[in-house]
Symmetry: C2
C-alpha cells in the first residue's frame, strides 16, 4: 500500500502551525503592552511555577533550545526580570530566578491570560479541549512527564 502525502489542508505540521498562530495571536496582542515576547513570557511563567531552576531544566520546561535561552536570559537580566547565579558546587552551572519585577509582570497579566485560554476552551468545549491536550501530548517525544 503506497501512501501519498495528504493535501496541505490536512497536513499535520501545517495544522499545528496554524493552530499555534490562532492561539498565540491574542496572547501576543496582550504581551505587546508589556514589552516582552511570547518566549520571555514562557520563561517567566516556568520560573513562577517551579521557582529557581538551573538553566538546563529551565530550557527544557520552557521548550526552548539552549542557545535561545542564553539570549533570552541575557535580555531578561538586562530588563531586571530575572537574576543569574553561578553554582558554587559546579561552576559550569547557573541558577536562574525570577525577580519581584518579573513576578509583577506575571501577576498583573495572569487573569487576562487565563481569560484568553478560557475563550479557547469554550470555543472547543471543555471535553474537546482536554482531548486536544492529550493528543498533543502524545506527539511530544519529550520525557514522559
Amino acid at each position: 500500500m503506497t501512501s501519498t502525502l495528504p493535501p496541505t489542508k490536512r497536513s499535520l505540521p501545517i495544522a499545528l502551525i496554524r493552530a499555534r498562530e490562532g492561539v498565540m495571536a491574542p496572547i501576543r496582542e496582550m504581551l505587546a503592552e508589556t514589552g516582552i515576547t511570547e518566549q520571555q513570557w514562557r520563561v517567566l511563567r516556568v520560573l513562577t511555577e517551579y521557582g529557581r531552576l538551573d538553566a538546563k531544566t529551565l530550557a527544557d520546561r520552557s521548550s526552548l533550545l539552549f542557545p535561545s535561552l542564553t539570549r533570552i536570559a541575557a535580555t531578561l537580566r538586562d530588563k531586571g526580570l530575572i537574576t543569574q547565579t553561578r553554582d558554587d558546587a559546579d561552576r559550569r552551572r547557573q541558577f536562574i530566578e525570577i525577580t519581584p519585577e518579573g513576578q509583577k509582570i506575571i501577576d498583573d497579566r495572569a487573569t487576562q491570560a487565563a481569560q484568553i485560554v478560557d475563550g479557547f476552551k469554550s470555543a472547543l468545549g471543555a471535553e474537546n479541549y482536554e482531548t486536544l491536550l492529550d493528543l498533543l501530548t502524545l506527539l511530544d517525544p519529550g520525557p514522559a512527564d
Copy 2:
C-alpha cells in the same frame, strides 16, 4: 469565577509547540539531506498542489508571513527551484511557479514524507488522528476553507 493559568504542562500554546517539535523532528531530519528547510519544503508542496500562484495566495496557503516568503522565494529562485514572473496586467503582482528541479525534490521525497506522516497516524490511531486535525482546524482563525 476567577480563572487561573493552567500549569505549563497543560498549557495549550506550549503543548502546540512541543507537538510541532515532535512531528517536525523526523521531517527535518529527512530534509537535511536535501539542503532545503522545512518552510522551503512547504512552499514547494503548495506549488505542487495548486500550480502557479500569485505571491499573496502562496503565502496564505503556505502559512508564511509575506516578509518570510519574500526571502524564501529569493532563496528558492537562486537554487533554481522556482521561477518568479511579473503580472503584466498588474505590475505590482508576481506569479511564482515550481521548476522541474523543484518538482523533482518533492517527487523524490514524497513517499518518505508520507511514511513519516503514517507513523504518527499509527501512533495515535486513525480516528484520533482525524479528530486531532479537526480540533486544530477549529483553532485556526483563517478563512473558513
